[in-house]
């Protein structure tokens, strides 16, 4: 059996197992995908109400404290399941930064929200040459590694 066939077989078996296993889906309590109450304006401090929310969420205590540390590593937590994020953020929220094709910088779109940590402030045409040279992997986190259209405007 060729390697590709092996992977296809594993892929198919996993899909079948998943379909038959639907009745055995975990019922572990988690957070609802929608926050039950209106949130206040401005920056929300979840910990004011949720002092201990780690049980059942698969997320640590600090996940809902949107600190500078959390924002730097939010992708790790977002990949673990979207219920907790989705309880406050609409799905389109991610794409205000993680868009495949985009013509406006995040901080141009959100010029009225300087308190947000939207990247690429100032004349980033200049600064990105330095940041991109020193740590291009950091670009990959938002722009992906192969299909960002904004790079194409100059890098062609």
């Amino acid at each position: 059996m060729t390697r590709r066939m092996s992977f296809s077989a594993v892929f198919g078996a996993a899909l079948i197992a998943l379909l038959f296993g639907c009745s055995a889906v975990s019922q572990t309590p988690s957070v609802p995908p929608k926050h039950p109450e209106d949130l206040p304006q401005g920056r929300v401090d979840c910990l004011e109400c949720h002092e201990n929310v780690s049980a059942g969420t698969l997320k640590p205590y600090g996940t809902i404290r949107h600190s500078r540390v959390f924002i730097d590593s939010h992708g790790t937590y977002a990949r673990q399941g979207q219920n907790l994020c989705a309880s406050c953020h609409a799905p389109a929220f991610c794409q205000t930064c993680h868009a495949r094709k985009e013509e406006m910088k995040p901080n141009t779109k959100m010029g009225d929200r300087p308190d947000r940590m939207a990247p690429h402030r100032g004349d980033y045409l200049i600064t990105h040459r330095i940041d991109g040279r020193l740590d291009p992997g950091s670009c990959f986190r938002c722009h992906g590694n192969k299909n960002d259209v904004r790079c194409r405007q100059c890098h062609k």
């Binding site: 109450e37 540390v69 790790t76 953020h89 609409a90 929200r113 100032g122 040279r133």
Partner: protein
Amino acid sequence: MGHPTTVVPLGKRLLPVVVSVTLLLPLLFAGTALAADLSLSSKTYLRYYERDLAGDEDTLAPLYEYLSADATNLGGMPVAFHFYGWGRVDLADPSTSDNKQSWELGSAYLEYLHPQGNAQAKLGRFFLTEGAAMETLDGAFVKATTPVGLGVSVYGGAPVEQSILAGTKVGSGLYGGRVFFAKAGFVELGASYLNENGTFQEGKDRELYGGDLWLRVAPSVDLTAQATYNRSVREMARQRYAVRIVPGPTFDISAGYESYTYKGLFQSTLNPAFVSPALDNNDEVQTIFGIVDWAFAPGWTLEVAGKHITHDKSDPGDADRGEVGVRYSYNDKKDVAGIVAAFVAADREENEYREFRGFATYSPEKIRLALDALTQHYQREIHGEKNAYQVVASAGYQVLSMLQLSGDLTYTKSPTYDEDYAALLRATLELGTTTGGKK
């Protein structure tokens, strides 16, 4: 600059099908549509600025519309439809080198989300982050966790991607999956695989193996790890390990190590930014990083971050980046003011710069005012300039509970922009029948 070579990806050919299917699928639930919770967000931007390119002065006035819609609880079931897209029409000269219009369907998909979050399915166009995958996909994704904590996810479809390199074919199909073990509040351990058919590095398919770990070793200590192996070039693409300590609601600290190889991480055949001579594809990067966030007094937060970057190649060489900032929130946390200083010290002078920034907002009643000022100082002159400045002033008014109007005025002086003024008008409309909060 030359005209881009157009390579029509499979995803683009499938686009009409994806749009049709994803728009028609919700009609299956039309009989019970009244049971759905609906929300619509429209953000309209009109920018106005001038550009002097090679002595030819253009007046630019692009009009952007960003539209997102969510219909959840379709038919009273945990099924939802999500849409996100944007379009641009130039009211004056073309604002890009391509044409006076552009648009993008970011996502349009039907989703099933288990009420407790332990199973999920998506169908349509969606942004996917799962194990080694970070893709936009026209296809399907399913994921489920069993009562013992073992789970599996699988996905497949047409990747949505483009290339400008002549003769380069984008991926024709992509599939993958992840098996994992998750124990709520304690650990999540996953192994993943991704395969994209095509002629990528060395003319092979793109094949990635991934591993990920989140482990709570103590009530306030987390370990996270991600590693990706690129089988196409037979080397580690990326590794990242971090420890995070959150001893309480006022202190948060993280430190870690990351390494990646250009050859393993970047798909250079599709992104010419990473094609030699722009970058040496044999370079390898290692970073050590640390971040501290400390709410040292009510309303006051200190933020400190540092990163040491090591390259195998003397060009671009090694560098250190440091950042320190203080922010203060007031007016029931609706408003924030802050100052930030950052520096980059590097082996090579052309990579060194310093940055200083200050910002503040003020929101009495229905009015919102904001000011953001930034300056950068480059160690080596760029186009004869060593300094850059930018100031953004913004004012907004909440006309109705669902409608906000605002405008920004931006001044920039830099090596690129001599004396540049730009204006932006913004209308934000939020409609919805859903209860609860969405940001």
